[in-house]
């Protein structure tokens, strides 16, 4: 299973082996990673699973949908060029080793 590394708001890093097809929000919440809420359960409706994707690998991800781009305007922490919603990124073998940083706050 591909490894994904989350950097929590405290700076603590957590690396998880996640099943292909899970999204990054699910990987975080199922494993107790701090710094993600995911209030809408992954419907791209709440913008509380904001993450910063390792900028050097941003291009390897499928681009955000119109809906995700719209919701990214509503994140609580600073929106950056590498901001994504974790619930919209699905784990794949190609993403093995990806590092995502969680913002200071989601609310």
């Amino acid at each position: 299973m591909p490894n994904i590394t989350y950097i929590e708001p405290s700076g603590q890093s957590v690396t998880l082996s996640l099943p292909v097809g899970w999204n990054l929000m699910q990987g975080a919440t199922a494993n107790g990673v701090d710094g993600i809420l995911g209030e809408c359960g992954g419907s791209c409706a709440c913008a509380t699973c904001h993450c910063y994707v390792d900028a050097s690998r941003l291009g390897e991800l499928p681009p955000p949908s119109e809906g995700e781009l719209a919701m990214l305007a509503n994140v609580s922490s600073e929106r950056r060029p590498n901001s994504r919603l974790a619930c919209q990124i699905k784990v794949s073998d190609a993403l093995d080793g990806l590092v995502v940083t969680l913002p200071p706050t989601q609310e």
């Binding site: 919440t29 199922a30 107790g32 209030e39 992954g42 809906g67 719209a70």
Partner: protein, 413 residues
């Protein structure tokens, strides 16, 4: 009673209860926090139950809202499968169904809501199910499989959000689906007529049969299992599974028995205080008293989260009022409906975009003032609407309908 800190007790481990527990910690509370859930599962996301979970696209781990170890790290004690039988607000204790007693300094009620039962003969038959919990949803999944194997149709009673989401998912699984709606249109309490019609067309296009003005009179069964739904006009709809989605009632009986003011929900103010000092409430179980004295019941993730934050603040002696524009969403097929504000009492409507394009927003006005916006596959409109409504800014009908007019510009003035 000892004077030592006994901590905070939260009844209910859903969205609101979890939020209260985490917001207490985030707010600097250092005492004991006990989160009591009556379901056997650790906190999970409810929204996917009617969609990805029923469709068989995700497993239980993917539903996790907070893993037990995540709560433990915050020193929040989660107890699942625990029922509360009584609250004594004078002694500040709760009694659990096993007879044990927990003392508290502060108590949060996040007891949720229960689906309304269908009040007709035969409604207790196997295969007549409502959707609220993960176990409800799992039971529905096995009956969907049963319908699939036997080639039996699904009948949904109630054309509200839950019923329509289940209808969409059942269609996705290839099952025949009929929706029986008591009113002359779908989602009549929440949507403008033109959107009700649009949703009826969407479901019809996906092969769902919709029957309006349907008064269900009985459930027929054989060997204890549902076989059909009968309506007052004598029509009979065969079914291997019946979904009952006719609304919910707030779980306020514990509060009521404890002398806490309830009126179709636990009555709270904007800061989530109940009528009893030291007791707060949040989420689907509440009815919020508005400045004009009326009561507002909201059943939504936003209400659970925001009221949960207010409730935690109130337990810490702070006032954090939750009066933001209500928002809600519903996913059916490939359409995401996002609603901002409350549209009841609207007298004028304007559509931004075109209904035929499948991506548009309906703006609701009352007395010339914008009161709500319902967006379909138009998240940008939805977020803008929340800002306009929060700021009390109203575009004109003409500005709304003119997609070349920059509505966001109105916020800058």
């Amino acid at each position: 009673m000892s004077n030592a800190a006994q901590g905070m007790v939260i009844i209910g481990a859903g969205q609101a209860g979890v939020q209260v527990s985490e917001s207490l910690r985030a707010g600097g509370y250092a005492g004991a926090i006990t989160l009591l859930g009556d379901e056997p599962h650790p906190p999970y996301h409810r929204p996917p139950l009617s969609k990805a979970w029923l469709a068989g696209e995700i497993d239980a781990a993917q539903l996790t809202m907070r893993a037990p170890e995540a709560l433990a790290r915050k020193n929040i004690t989660l107890r699942t499968g625990v029922k509360v039988s009584a609250i004594d607000t004078a002694a500040r204790t709760v009694t659990l169904s096993d007879g044990s007693v927990l003392a508290y300094d502060g108590l949060a009620l996040a007891t949720g809501a229960t689906p309304r039962a269908l009040p007709v003969p035969g409604a207790d038959a196997d295969g007549v199910l409502a959707l609220r919990t993960r176990d409800d949803a799992s039971a529905i999944v096995s009956h969907l499989q049963y319908c699939d194997e036997k080639g039996l149709p699904v009948v949904v009673i109630g054309g509200g959000f839950i019923g329509l989401e289940v209808a969409a998912t059942a269609r996705k699984r290839g099952l025949a689906v009929t929706v029986l709606e008591a009113a002359p249109r779908l989602l009549g309490r929440v949507l403008a007529p033109l959107l009700s019609d649009w949703y009826a067309q969407l479901h019809t296009d996906h092969g769902v049969g919709i029957v309006f003005n349907a008064q269900v009179s009985a459930i027929d069964s054989k060997d204890g299992h549902v076989t059909a739904v009968t309506t007052a006009d004598g029509r009979r709809f065969p079914a291997g599974l019946v979904i009952v989605g006719i609304g919910v009632t707030a779980n306020d009986s514990l509060a009521k028995a404890a002398g806490i003011e309830c009126d179709r929900g636990i009555v709270v103010d904007a800061c989530a205080h109940t009528s009893v000092p030291g007791v707060v409430a949040a989420g689907d179980c509440t009815a919020r008293r508005l400045p004009d004295g009326s009561l507002l019941r909201l059943e939504s993730v936003q209400n659970a989260s925001e009221q949960g934050r207010s409730a935690a603040a109130a337990l810490l002696g702070q006032e954090r009022s939750f009066v933001a524009t209500p928002w809600f969403w519903s996913d059916q097929y490939d359409k995401k409906l996002q609603m901002a504000g409350l549209s009841s009492g609207a007298d004028h409507w304007a559509v931004r975009g075109t209904l035929a394009s499948g991506a548009f927003s309906v703006f609701h006005f009352r007395g010339g003032k914008l009161i709500a916006v319902d967006s379909v596959n138009a998240s940008k409109d939805h977020l803008l609407a929340r800002k306009l409504l929060d700021a009390g800014v109203s575009p004109t009908l003409a500005q709304t309908a003119d997609t070349t007019f920059d509505l966001a510009g109105l916020l800058e003035k």
